[in-house]
C-alpha cells in the first residue's frame, strides 16, 4: 500500500509535509514518492482537504460473471464498436466541420460505453485471470510492428489474483 495525492483536491495546506516520517510527500512533481512511502497513513488523517488516499497493492478477486450475462454484453460491445468505427470515419472525412465534431463526440462516447461494458463482462481488474488469458493469447500475434514487448512486460508486472 502507498499514499496517493489527488492534485485536484490538494489545497497546499502542506500538513502532510510536517507529519510524513520519510519525506515521501515532499516532491517536485506534487505526487507522493511511492518508493519512500511506508503507508503509515499519517498524511491522510492530517490533510484538511481530503486529497490523500491509500492505494492498495493487492485487490480482491473480481466478481464472477455468468456466461449468459457475458454473451449479452459482448453483443452490445460488438455493435458499439461498429458505431465507433463508423463515427471515426465520419469524424475524419465529413466536409462539414460541425458534422465532424459531432462524429468525434460519438466516437468517444461509444468508446467509453464499450469500455464500461467490458468491465462488467469480466474485465474489471488488470490482475484478473481473464486479463492474463487475454494477454497470453496475444503472444500468437505475428506482425513485426506489434508491440510484443508491451505484452511481455504486462505479464511480468501484473500479478494474477484469481
Amino acid at each position: 500500500m502507498h499514499a496517493f495525492r489527488n492534485l485536484r483536491n490538494c489545497t497546499k495546506d502542506c500538513l502532510c509535509l510536517y507529519v510524513c516520517p520519510t519525506g515521501a510527500s515532499d516532491t517536485e512533481n506534487g505526487q507522493i514518492d511511492f518508493k519512500k512511502c511506508i503507508a503509515c497513513g499519517l498524511c491522510i488523517s492530517a490533510c484538511p482537504s481530503h486529497a490523500i488516499s491509500m492505494v492498495p497493492d493487492t485487490f480482491a478477486p473480481q466478481q464472477r460473471k455468468a456466461d449468459a450475462m457475458k454473451q449479452e454484453m459482448m453483443k452490445l460491445i460488438q455493435t458499439i464498436a461498429e458505431q465507433e468505427a463508423a463515427a471515426h470515419e465520419l469524424a475524419k472525412h465529413s466536409d462539414d466541420k460541425v458534422f465532424a465534431q459531432l462524429a468525434a463526440a460519438l466516437e468517444k462516447s461509444n468508446r467509453i460505453m464499450a469500455e464500461d461494458l467490458f468491465r462488467e463482462a469480466g474485465y474489471m481488474l488488470p490482475q484478473s485471470k481473464n486479463t492474463h488469458d487475454f494477454l497470453r493469447s496475444l503472444k500468437a500475434v505475428s506482425d513485426d510492428r506489434f508491440p510484443m514487448e508491451a505484452v511481455d512486460q504486462l505479464l511480468t508486472l501484473l500479478d494474477q489474483n484469481d
Binding site: A68, M124, P147
Partner: protein, 220 residues
Amino acid sequence: MKKYVCTICGYIYDEAAGSPDQGIAADTKWEDLPETWVCPICTAPKSMFNEVKEEVKEEAEEKEQKLENKLNLSSLEMSILCSNLAKGCEKQVLMDEMALFQKLADYFKAHAKKTVDPQFETLRTLVNENLSDIYPIASQTAKELNDRGSLRALVWSEKVSRIQSSLLDRLLKEGSDFIEKTNVYVCEICGYIYVGDEAPEICPVCKVPNFKLHKIERGQ
C-alpha cells in the same frame, strides 16, 4: 501545422485550431502570433513555450491484421478492451502498466477494419437496433441474475444510446444548426453527450461532477 506546449501549465497551442477565445483564428502560425500574446491559461509569455515534436506514426495497414485470438474479438474490440484495462491501471496508479495497455490499444485501433461508406443514417440504425433488440434482453438477464453491476452499466449506456439516437435524429432532420453556435461535451465516465454552452453541474446520466465532461473541439 505545429503545436507548442506551455512549459508552465501544459496548455497546448495548436496552430490548426488557433485560440478562438483570444481572437486568434484557426491556422494562425506560431510565428504570426503577436509577441504580446500570452498563454490563455496561465498568461505565460510566448518565450515559455516549446514546440511539440510528435512521433511519426506509421501508416496503418488498410487491411485488418489476421490476429489470432481465442476470444474471437475484432481488432477494434481488442483496442477497447485494452483502453479499458489502461483505465483500470490508472485507477490503481500503475502508470507504467497504463501506458503499456494504451500502447496495445493504439496498435489495435490503427489496425481496425475501416467502415466502408460510413453514413450518419447507418450509425443511427445501429444505435436504434441496440435500443430495440439488445438492451431490453440484456437488462432482463442482469435482473434475473441479480447482477447489479451489469445492470448499472446497462442503465447508463442505454440512456447514452438514447441521447445518441436523438442527436442523430436531429442532425439528419435539421442539419447542424443546433450545434453551430454552441459547444459539445462528452462525459468521460459514461459517454453522455451534451450540446450546450456550459456543461451541466453534474452529468445527468452518471452524476459525476462536470470537470469530467470534456469539450469536443471543432476541427480546422
